[in-house]
């Protein structure tokens, strides 16, 4: 449409802006949008399209999660800690999107510091699921999923540390792609757990997600863990979908705790793919049962260190120094009044400033994970927790290595349930953590995964997501399988009652 000139880029942007202005008050997906800048850039890109100099992403309108740095814009991670922080440089992914002539229309709500599975841990308030606003959109990239689902932007960027792209994609009925670890630069992605964090993409279709991946993937000298593996032309690979693939069905992913409607739906998708020529193979991933425990040891350990920089000294939230000093004086007076001569237990003003700034700046889930991570790294506990969890991580990697020696991709549900009611799990962190049971392994193993919508649930009407996983840097196989699934799901007029 853009090529034929029927629709111009400014028209497109204006359309998204009016959708945001109309629906965002209910959905709360965008934390801010850049109306004037985006329209101005739209005109600029329209001219480039007309004179034939436009980049490959001309006409693509994106939102980016608050976890990414974009120079001159706030980068808050939905945390009071960074409420006043403005990024001083562009994340590599942002730079690459802009270089391809994409338009970044605004910034998206998330769980604070990407910690959460429901997008209820945000200083901006919760995001609501566009399909049913009494339900959560999933997390932590809830805003990114909801924005695409609500038609507020064409695609979006999220981050996936334990399922934070795939699970909200599943809850909101959109496509969410988590590339292999090292496939996309993390430079400018505010770290939660460095050895798990992946930059991911949301779109309405597998093709959309593949276009974004092609633009952002590849080696970056600013990220030593980014891979030099060549970047294939992912969208072009989808021109010809190969049905003759081998799909692994891991028994462990279909056991207790999984909603039977979801189980049947995922199996149905697998069978339809089989009918197209795919081969289904039963596989075992026996260490799945340890995945959540290992993840919450390793990821929180890294988080406790990654979030240490938020100390209120150079930027970010700083407690009122006067109040800190006054409080210390009062404590000192109390101690001396009690006759205590030893004041060595009293904090120095500097230490108290750290404590107070961090106490005020971080929300409860972030504090919980920092404390957990600090604990598991403490002297005397390291081997029992961190060391053991690392060994489990290796075992899980081996499980996948073995599986992928037999199959091209693995199919599974993305989450054990559909989107749940707001507030229903906020007081039960363990139940909340279990929501990531099927997605977390991919992050432990560093492999790639994708969630695609597979119709709605028969009783609650909410979207169901089916997940595919492929070996590290096998995004071509992953996208091929996801596209095939997308096709078979689209073939029945109503996928929810095939």
């Amino acid at each position: 449409m853009l090529e034929s000139g029927e629709l111009t880029v400014p028209d497109l942007v204006a359309g998204y802006i009016s959708r945001i202005e109309q629906d965002n008050p209910d959905i709360n997906a965008f934390t801010q949008w850049h109306k004037e800048e985006s329209l101005e850039r739209a005109h600029h890109i329209q001219r480039k399209i007309e004179n034939g100099s436009a980049g490959p992403l001309a006409g693509v309108v994106l939102g980016v999660k608050e976890v990414f740095c974009q120079k001159g814009f706030p980068a808050t991670c939905a945390s009071k800690m960074l409420a006043s922080y403005e990024a001083v440089y562009d994340a590599t992914v942002v730079e690459r999107l802009l270089a391809g002539d994409a338009i970044i229309i605004g910034r998206l709500n998330m769980d604070e510091f990407a910690m959460g599975s429901s997008n209820e841990n945000s200083m901006y308030g919760p995001v609501r699921n566009p399909r049913n606003t009494s339900r959560v959109p999933g997390g932590s990239s809830g805003g990114s999923a909801a924005a695409v689902a609500a038609g507020m932007c064409h695609a979006s960027l999220g981050s996936d540390t334990g399922g934070s792209v795939r699970q909200p994609a599943s809850f909101c009925g959109v496509v969410g792609l988590k590339p292999s670890y090292g496939r996309v630069s993390r430079h400018g992605l505010i770290a939660y757990a460095s050895s798990f964090d992946s930059v991911g993409a949301f779109g309405s279709t597998v093709h959309d997600a593949s276009v974004i991946l092609k633009a952002i993937a590849g080696r970056d000298d600013m990220d030593a863990t980014s891979s030099t593996e060549p970047v294939p032309d992912y969208p072009a690979l989808l021109d010809e979908v190969r049905p003759d693939i081998t799909i692994g069905i891991p028994k462990e992913y279909f056991g207790d705790g999984l909603d039977p409607v979801i189980r049947d739906r995922v199996m149905l998708v697998a069978e339809k793919m089989e009918a197209k020529g795919a081969k289904l193979v039963d596989i075992r991933l026996p260490n799945l049962k340890y995945a959540i425990a290992a993840y919450y040891v390793l990821a929180t350990a890294e988080a406790s260190s990654n979030l240490a920089r938020f100390d209120g000294i150079r930027y970010g939230h700083r407690a009122d120094m006067k109040a800190v000093r006054a409080r210390l004086k009062a404590e000192e007076a109390e101690l001396t009044a009690d006759g205590a001569a030893d004041l060595s237990g009293l904090d120095t003003p500097m230490i108290r400033l750290y404590k107070q700034s961090r106490t005020e700046g971080f929300g409860p889930e972030v504090k919980r994970r920092i404390m957990l991570g600090t604990y598991v790294l403490s002297a005397g506990y390291y081997e029992a927790y961190y060391g053991k969890a690392q060994r489990i991580r290796r075992l899980i990697k081996q499980d996948f290595e073995q599986a992928f020696s037999k199959v091209d991709v693995i199919i599974s549900p993305t989450a054990p349930t559909t989107a749940f009611e707001l507030g229903s799990k906020v007081n039960d962190p363990l139940q909340m953590y279990l929501n990531d049971i099927y997605t977390i392994s991919a992050n432990l193993a560093g492999i790639c995964g994708i969630s695609i919508p597979a119709g709605d649930h028969s009783s609650d009407g909410m979207p169901i997501g089916v997940q595919f996983m492929a070996n590290a840097f096998r995004e071509p196989e992953l996208l091929n399988a996801a596209r095939l699934a997308e096709m078979v799901c689209g073939e029945s007029a109503d996928a929810s009652s095939p």
Binding site: F68, C69, A75, C77, L82, Y85, A87, V88, Y89, A91, R186, H187, G188, L189, I190, A191, A193, S194, S195, D221, M222, D223, A224, T225, A301, E302, S304, S305, L307, A308, R309, F310, D311, I313, R314, Y315, S344, T348, M350, I351, Y354, T374, L377, S378, A379, Y382, Y386
Partner: protein
């Protein structure tokens, strides 16, 4: 038994060497001392969110170089670790270091002792890390100021075995490290500016005891002299403590060079659980055999080898060879004069006596000496050909130094200009010789009577009359020939 023989001192040193890399350890930004505060910084150095450390390849190469030069084993695969603690000059809340797998380990260095013997000191490990910024407490009455220029500067930490047995040995070990890092060109060794600094662990034990006793750690030793002084002070303190019935407690002490004593750091300042864990932002550091060979070839001749070569190849004395090889730039300078055709012994003498005198007088480093090797070789040639006297050489050198590095005048030209060339021209000398002999008939008579020692008197008179330009050898011959005419 005296106190000194009752106890044995046990010392281990942790030396930090700041590396002379162009850029910082993990960020592409300049690593230069002396810039305005907080100017050599990137978002990474400031601990901004989303930034990632990317290791500087030279950090790894320099570590391997120092490891090879100190006979260490090099780990083919080592990892970085995070050392977690809060401090305002530590912007990330952790320091990137190495913990369980230092890149170099199990090495040793031989140090020379005062009695001429050598002693082997074991090196436990050398690991790579980044420096913190600087907290400045004395410039503002109310606030501590932070300069993050140094944050992220690459460091090597060299940890010795507890093999050192006296403050003097500690000093010699420290000097040896200074010498080696400068020879390798990995660190400028400037202790005042903190680019080479050291912490010492020290304990005492009854002579003959095998086990180590409780030790104290002394920080902030920023000169060779302070290393020796602080350790001497601390060893005495421990001895007195033990002899008076007390016992040493494990603590961290700061050396105060003004008060010449150690003082205890606040216990809170030292109570840390660093919660080390593998740095997830940096892949393991791999050192291939190929890289190892490449770096081995880059290692220059080290001071010990060079000293021995100077003795055998050039016939220098042990003292001269030691002085010349003490610091690499001086030895390099010496060899560059030889490359210009000078012979070794006169060149060594020129450097050791004259040039070092000038350096001392002017507070100058050899690297900024204003007279280049080519002109110095010219000067030595003049003297070698006996065209100038030794005192004229000194005068000429001073003149060349004063003329500065831009002066292109050769020693010969200057000597001519300053009238310092020795005269061997008999047309000029004959009348002077005759005049001196004629004016001193008494001495002539006594000489002819057998008092040949008087030749010196005549030569002196003639030299004076010629204003020092006469060639003394030539004068001697002329006197011996002409004096017979007075018989």
């Amino acid at each position: 038994m005296s106190v000194d023989t009752q106890f044995e001192t046990v010392i281990g040193l942790e030396v930090h060497a700041q590396l002379l890399t162009e850029s910082k350890a993990f960020a592409p930004v300049s690593n230069r001392f002396g810039s305005a505060p907080n100017t050599n910084v990137t978002p990474l150095c400031l601990g901004h969110p989303g930034t990632l450390p990317v290791p500087n390849e030279n950090l790894i190469r320099y570590a391997v170089k120092l490891g090879l030069a100190t006979n260490c084993k090099i780990r083919p695969k080592s990892i970085f670790a995070r050392k977690n603690y809060f401090y305002p000059d530590m912007p990330k809340g952790y320091q990137i270091s190495q913990f369980e797998t230092p890149i170099c380990y199990e090495g040793h260095m031989d140090i020379g002792l005062e009695d001429g013997s050598t002693k082997r000191i074991g090196i436990t490990r050398i690991h790579m890390e980044e420096d913190a910024g600087k907290s400045i407490h004395d410039q503002d009455p109310h606030n501590t100021l932070i300069d993050l220029n140094r944050a992220g500067t690459p460091l090597l930490e060299i940890v010795s075995e507890p093999d050192i047995r006296s403050p003097q040995e500690a000093g010699a070990y420290m000097r040896k490290i200074w010498q080696i890092v400068r020879y390798l060109g990995v660190c400028d060794g400037n202790m005042e500016e903190g680019s080479l600094r050291c912490d010492a662990n020290v304990s005492i034990r009854p002579a003959g005891q095998k086990e180590f006793n409780i030790r104290t750690e002394i920080k902030n030793l920023n000169s060779f002299r302070n290393v020796e002084r602080a350790l001497t002070y601390e060893v005495e303190r421990q001895k007195e403590l033990v002899l008076s019935g007390g016992s040493v407690i494990q603590q961290t002490l700061l050396w105060d060079p003004n008060e010449m004593r150690t003082r205890q750091m606040r216990s809170k300042e030292e109570a840390h659980d660093y919660r080390y864990f593998p740095e997830p932002d940096i892949p393991p550091v791999l050192v291939t055999d190929e890289m190892l060979e490449e770096i081995r070839l880059e290692i220059p001749e080290l001071p010990e080898a060079r000293r021995l070569r100077y003795i055998s190849q050039f016939g220098l004395t042990d003292y001269d060879a030691s002085v010349l090889t003490e610091d690499r730039p001086l030895a390099d300078f010496f060899e560059s004069i030889l490359e210009q055709g000078a012979s070794a012994k006169p060149a060594a003498n020129l450097i050791i006596t004259e040039i070092r005198r000038v350096l001392n007088e002017k507070g100058m480093a050899i690297t900024t000496f204003p007279v280049g090797p080519e002109r110095l070789a010219g000067l030595l040639a003049l003297r070698g050909e006996d065209k100038i006297s030794s005192s004229a050489m000194q005068t000429l050198l001073d003149a060349m130094v004063d003329a500065g590095p831009d002066s292109a005048a050769s020693a010969g030209e200057l000597a001519q200009e300053m009238n310092l060339l020795q005269v061997s021209d008999t047309g000029f000398l004959d009348p002077i010789v005759e005049e001196v002999l004629r004016n001193n008939p008494e001495e002539v008579k006594r000489y002819l009577g057998g008092k040949h020692g008087l030749i010196g008197f005549f030569i002196g008179q003639i030299m004076k009359k010629s204003q020092g330009k006469a060639n003394p050898g030539m004068v001697r011959e002329l006197v011996q020939k002409k004096i017979t005419e007075f018989k």
